[in-house]
């Protein structure tokens, strides 16, 4: 009798182990990416940040909040971006319009210079784990057009 109940206990423990042990998430490995976007040193709110893998891959999207902080999302459930080197695009958010096409909100939008909206100007490396990648942009009127990027893990 003792032997049989022991057998049942062992069997149930093994079963529970199988149930809880078999879980896997689809998709490529990601690194979490957050950071701040500034234009001439001032935080930029309301712009969209896009990370596009330099090699084959799928992009991640994020937007900046009122403090210029963005957080990348890979899809509806997973945060982060694919590992490796990315082209970074920082895009003006399109104004929300009503049915006739007129903007609903009249607050002026910070214009990101065109060069940052196309691939080539900004790149970033995403590693596994947490990445903090800030972008300091410079407005077009200035002489130097190179953006400085500070990346730290």
């Amino acid at each position: 009798m003792h032997g049989s109940s022991l057998f049942f206990l062992v069997a149930s423990v093994v079963t529970i182990g199988f149930v809880s042990g078999c879980g896997s998430r689809g998709g490529p490995p990601l690194g979490m990416v957050t950071g701040t976007v500034t234009l001439n040193g001032e935080p930029v709110s309301g712009v969209n940040v896009v990370f596009v893998p330099e090699d084959q891959g799928s992009p991640s999207y994020g937007g900046t909040d009122e403090n210029g902080v963005y957080r990348l999302m890979f899809n509806q459930k997973r945060a982060g971006a694919e590992l490796g080197t990315h082209h970074v695009l920082i895009e003006n958010r399109e104004p929300e319009t009503d049915d006739s096409g007129k903007p609903i909100d009249d607050t002026p939008i910070v214009k990101i210079p065109k060069k940052y909206q196309q691939p080539g100007e900004l790149t970033a490396d995403v590693g596994s784990g947490r990445n903090n990648i800030d972008f300091d942009l410079e407005a077009d009127t200035k002489q130097s057009s190179n953006a400085t990027r500070t990346a730290s893990k």
Binding site: S12, P28, N48, S58, Y61, G63, E66, E91, E96
Partner: protein, 353 residues
């Protein structure tokens, strides 16, 4: 003696409480294992139905081509702005009705007025306004959990410029790799803008000879799911709830093909672009109102130009490339596989996907 004793012991033997509890626990675990499998079987059935609908749309499109020699137009909009003009505001979904066994509905529509036009506007709409509330199973993906109809400009329902019920669709045409301005102004007439190199465009109907990339390598129709409007973590609007089968008008009474925002009526009510990610995140940056998306795990179905249906992974090679006006324009690349599939004559090679 021995036999009697063993019989007596056997008659007294039963399961202990612990044994019973363990058996019950194991049965519970097995049921718990089975339940998700049942749910997955249900979703698999819904996915099959969804895929079959897309195939039917493909057959309807090909039957349309057999009769008319061209694919239907993405949207008819003959005067710039949102003026109410005879026959404007109808989308490709209305054009293929006779080939979906809906000739009755097709014949009842009055294509000489706009899709929201009603004969006796008011509490009980008649005419087109009543007919555009007809949900069609052929345009309903069972995985796309949504209402069958939605109100659109409801305050203007009485004047025929709005409706309390517009039938929603789960399938949108493919308009190309770049999702910026959907049409351009040529005099007073809207024409397809240079970046719109997909199969469904405003005011132009294409044929197989226009698909120089090969009809098996280009998207014709893709899936969308109903995403109610909301705001993301940065307080910016996102959503995709204006996905109409038959057509649209704006509050001005006509369609407005150059609209493409979250709260607008425009080309994006009927066609989508592949600039933004498939099944992208629920953020403003994901631009869901112009993108394809589904409730299926890992991707969405697409109808190709040749009538085949493919499941495309949401992790497909994608560069999210924006249109560069040029010269030199980037209409012929370079950009990623997902965007190449939407361009019908971009000239770029599509490897297996």
């Amino acid at each position: 003696m021995n036999r009697i004793e063993s019989r007596r012991r056997r008659s007294h033997h039963g399961f202990t409480l612990i044994e019973l509890l363990v058996v019950i626990a194991i049965i519970a675990i097995l049921i718990a294992l089975l339940l998700p499998a049942v749910q997955q079987a249900r979703e698999a059935a819904r996915r099959t139905q969804c895929r079959n609908n897309l195939k039917q749309l493909g057959l309807a499109l090909h039957n349309y081509i057999d009769v008319n020699s061209v694919f239907p137009m993405g949207l008819s909009d003959t005067v710039w702005g949102n003026a109410e003009i005879t026959g404007d505001g109808w989308a490709w979904g209305a054009a293929i009705l006779p080939y979906l066994d809906q000739a009755g509905l097709f014949n009842q529509f009055n294509f000489n007025t706009n899709p929201y036009n009603c004969i006796t506007c008011g509490a009980a709409p008649t005419g087109n306004q009543a007919l555009i509330a007809t949900p069609l199973a052929a345009f309903n993906c069972p995985s796309d959990v949504r209402p069958s109809v939605a109100a659109n400009n409801p305050g203007n329902a009485a004047t025929g410029k709005g409706t309390n019920a517009t039938a929603l669709s789960s399938y949108m045409g493919s308009a190309g790799p770049f999702d910026g301005t959907p049409c351009a102004q040529n005099g007073t007439v809207p024409v397809a803008e240079a970046r719109n190199i997909g199969l469904f465009r405003v005011n132009s109907a294409l044929s197989f000879r226009d698909i120089t990339d090969g009809s098996s390598n280009v998207f014709a129709v893709g899936e969308v799911r109903y995403i109610p409007n909301g705001v993301d973590a940065t307080n910016a609007a996102y959503g995709s709830d204006r996905q109409f089968i038959y057509g649209h008008v704006t509050t001005g009474g006509g369609p407005k093909c150059d609209n493409n925002g979250v709260n607008n009526n425009g080309m994006h009510n009927h066609v989508r672009w592949t600039r933004h990610k498939l099944n992208g995140p629920l953020t403003n940056a994901g631009t869901l109102e112009r993108a394809f998306h589904s409730n299926h795990v890992g991707g969405a179905h697409f109808l190709m130009g040749d009538g085949s249906v493919r499941f495309v992974s949401e992790n497909i090679d994608h560069t999210s490339t924006n249109f560069v006006v040029g010269p030199p324009s980037n209409v012929n690349g370079p950009y990623g596989t997902y965007q190449r599939l939407a361009g019908i004559n971009d000239g770029q090679i599509v490897s297996d996907f």
